[in-house]
C-alpha cells in the first residue's frame, strides 16, 4: 500500500526577469495505491511524473507532504523503506565498467543479500529475462531491449514489494515492448505493487488497473482506463473541422451516429480511448 498526502516539490528557478523564484514541479499530490495494483502515471512532458517517481523512490526529498509505505512513514525510516522498493529508471544507468552479472551482484550486495542467495537469485532472474547467455558480457555490448530487460531483472533482485518503472518501454520496438508488458503483468501477479509512468497511452490502457493523469504538477484525473472513457463518453465522433481535427463524445452509439449525420465531409465513429481522455484533461497533444 502506498499513501501519498499533499506531496509538493519545488525547485529553485530563474524567471524571465532573472529573478530567483521557486517552480512547483509537483503540487499537493495525494494518492492511495493498494497492494497488487498496476498503477499508471500519465502526463505531458513537464507534468511532474518523473519528479513524483524520484520522490517516491527517495532520490529526491519532497518540499512538503507525506509518503507512507505499508502504513509506515518514509521519513526517518528510509533505509528500511528502500529495501521494499525496486526501481526501473527511465535511462539505462548500469555501471559500464561491470559485466551483466557484476551489475546484478552489486545491486544484490547493496541490498544486503548473502552470497548464496545472491548467486541463486541472479541465476533465476537472468533466466526469467532470458539473458543467462550474456552474464559475463560487459553491459555496453547489450542491445537496447536486452538492457531494458536487465534493468527489470536488477530491480527485482531483492524481491521488492513495490516496483517503480519510469518509462519502461521508451524507444523500444513493439515486440520488445510487449515482452516487457508480459514481465510487468507477471510481477503484479506475483503480488508486487507496480507504479509506472509512460508516454504511451496504449501501454497504460493495456497494463494499468488505474491511471492518474498529471498536468503542470497537479492531479487532474484518477480512475480506471475504462471508467475514464465511459465518463467522457464511450463513443467518439471525429471529423475534419475548419482549422483542425474535431472530436465530440457520446455515451450511446446511436447519439454519435445521429451527430455524425449532421457533419459534412469525412466522419469517423469509434470507441473512445485513453488518449482522448488525456487530451481532454491536459488540453494538449504534444509530449504524448
Amino acid at each position: 500500500m502506498i499513501e501519498i498526502h499533499n506531496l509538493v516539490k519545488q525547485f529553485p528557478h530563474r524567471d524571465a526577469n532573472g529573478k530567483n523564484v521557486y517552480k512547483t514541479a509537483v503540487d499537493r499530490l495525494s494518492l492511495e495505491i493498494p497492494a497488487g495494483e498496476i498503477f499508471g502515471l500519465l502526463g505531458p512532458n513537464g507534468a511532474g511524473k518523473t519528479t513524483t517517481i524520484r520522490m517516491l523512490t527517495m532520490q529526491l526529498l519532497p518540499t512538503s507532504g507525506e509518503l507512507r509505505y505499508m502504513g509506515k512513514s518514509v521519513r526517518g525510516h528510509e533505509q528500511e523503506m528502500k529495501q521494499l522498493i525496486g526501481v526501473v529508471p527511465q535511462h539505462v544507468n548500469f555501471d559500464l565498467d561491470l559485466t551483466v552479472g557484476e551489475n546484478l551482484e552489486l545491486h544484490a550486495r547493496l541490498h544486503h543479500m548473502g552470497s548464496r542467495e545472491r548467486a541463486t537469485r541472479i541465476r533465476e532472474l537472468l533466466e526469467y529475462v532470458e539473458l543467462s547467455s550474456v552474464v559475463n558480457e560487459n553491459v555496453r555490448r547489450l542491445s537496447g531491449g536486452m538492457k531494458r530487460r536487465l534493468l527489470i531483472a536488477r530491480a527485482l533482485i531483492h524481491r521488492p514489494l513495490i516496483l517503480f518503472l519510469d518509462e519502461p518501454t521508451v524507444a523500444l520496438d513493439p515486440q520488445v515492448r510487449r515482452r516487457i508488458w508480459e514481465l510487468i503483468r507477471h510481477m503484479a501477479k506475483d503480488g508486487a505493487t507496480v507504479v509506472l509512468t509512460t508516454h504511451y497511452i496504449e501501454e497504460a490502457e493495456n497494463l494499468c488497473d488505474r491511471v492518474a493523469i498529471l498536468h503542470c504538477g497537479k492531479l487532474v484525473g484518477l480512475d480506471t482506463p475504462g471508467n475514464f472513457c465511459r465518463r467522457l463518453g464511450s463513443f467518439t465522433v471525429e471529423w475534419d473541422g475548419e482549422e483542425s481535427r474535431s472530436y465530440q463524445f457520446f455515451s450511446e452509439k446511436r447519439e454519435a451516429a445521429a451527430f455524425a449525420a449532421t457533419v459534412e465531409g469525412s466522419v469517423l465513429i469509434r470507441p473512445t480511448n485513453l488518449e482522448d481522455v488525456f487530451i481532454e484533461l491536459t488540453g494538449r497533444k504534444e509530449g504524448l
Binding site: T57, M58, Q59, L60, L61, E78, Q79, E80, M81, K82, Q83, I85, V87, P89, H91, N93, F94, D95, L96, D97, L98, E102, L106, H107, R109, L110, H111, H112
Partner: protein, 248 residues
C-alpha cells in the same frame, strides 16, 4: 555498525573488481609520469643540482611521491562525476538501502588503494635510480592521509561540477599549481614571502615536507600531521554534505 562496514565494503568491492581486471594497465600507465619525472629532474637536471641535504634525487623523491599520490587519488575518484552526470549509475547507490556515508568512504578507500599501489611502484623505481628513502609507519600514514585528502577533494568536485570541461579546470587551477609549488621540486623558502605563506598552508606542502623529513630520518613537525588530519576531516564533511545534497 556491521551493516555500515558491509556497505563500505560493497562500494569498495565494485572498485576492486574494476581495478583487479585492469591491474596491468593501471600499473603500466601509473609508471609513466613518475618515470619521466625521475629521468628529467633526477638524472637530467638533478645531476647538476646539489641541495643542503645532499643529492637532489633524494630531495626530489618525497616531493614526487606526494604529487603522484595526490594525482592518482584525485583522478581515481573523479569517474564518480561521470557516474553522476552522464551514466547516472550513481542513482543505484542513492536508491539503495545503504548507510549514507558508505559511498564516500568506500570510494575514498578505493582511491587510497590506487594511490598506495602507485606510490609503492614509484618507490621501487626510485630505489632502482639509487635513491634513499626510509619507509616508516608514519611515512606511510602521511602518504595515506595525502591520498585521503585528494580523494575527498576529487569526490567533492565530482558532486559539484557539472561538465567534463569544468572537471578539467579543477585539475588545471588546483592540482597543477600545487604539483609545482608545494615543495615538490624545490623548497618553498625560494618563493616570494606572500606566496610562500599561502603555499605553506596547502596540504601538499605539508605532505612534501613530512615525507622528505621522515624519508631522510629527520625530526618532523607533528603539527603538519595534525593539519593534514584537519584537511581530511573538513573535506570529508564537505563531500558528505555534497552527496546528501544531491537529493534536494
Amino acid at each position: 555498525m556491521g551493516s555500515c562496514l558491509y556497505d563500505v565494503w560493497t562500494v569498495f568491492w565494485r572498485d576492486w573488481v574494476v581495478l583487479r581486471r585492469r591491474m596491468v594497465k593501471f600499473i603500466l600507465s601509473r609508471m609513466v609520469a613518475p618515470m619521466l619525472y625521475l629521468v628529467a629532474f633526477g638524472w637530467g637536471l638533478g645531476r647538476s643540482i646539489q641541495v643542503d641535504s645532499g643529492s637532489y634525487l633524494d630531495f626530489l623523491i618525497p616531493g614526487i611521491l606526494a604529487l603522484n599520490s595526490m594525482n592518482i587519488s584525485f583522478n581515481s575518484i573523479t569517474p564518480v562525476h561521470a557516474e553522476r552526470v552522464y551514466h547516472k549509475s550513481l542513482e543505484e547507490y542513492i536508491i539503495a538501502p545503504i548507510w549514507p556515508y558508505a559511498f564516500l568512504i568506500g570510494k575514498v578507500l578505493a582511491a587510497i588503494l590506487r594511490g598506495l599501489i602507485s606510490s609503492a611502484l614509484f618507490v621501487l623505481l626510485a630505489f632502482c635510480f639509487g635513491a634513499h628513502v626510509a619507509l616508516t609507519p608514519l611515512f606511510l600514514l602521511v602518504l595515506a592521509l595525502n591520498c585521503v585528502i585528494f580523494a575527498e577533494l576529487g569526490f567533492y568536485a565530482s558532486m559539484k561540477v557539472n561538465t567534463y570541461e569544468e572537471m578539467g579546470q579543477v585539475n588545471t587551477y588546483i592540482l597543477v599549481p600545487m604539483s609545482f609549488l608545494c615543495g615538490t621540486f624545490f623548497a618553498t623558502s625560494a618563493l616570494p614571502e606572500a606566496l610562500r605563506v599561502v603555499i605553506e598552508c596547502l596540504p601538499l606542502t605539508h605532505t612534501s615536507y613530512l615525507l622528505r623529513g621522515l624519508g631522510s630520518g629527520m625530526e618532523v613537525a607533528m603539527s603538519s600531521v595534525f593539519v593534514l588530519g584537519l584537511y581530511a576531516l573538513f573535506l570529508f564533511l564537505l563531500g558528505s554534505k555534497a552527496f546528501l545534497d544531491l537529493r534536494k
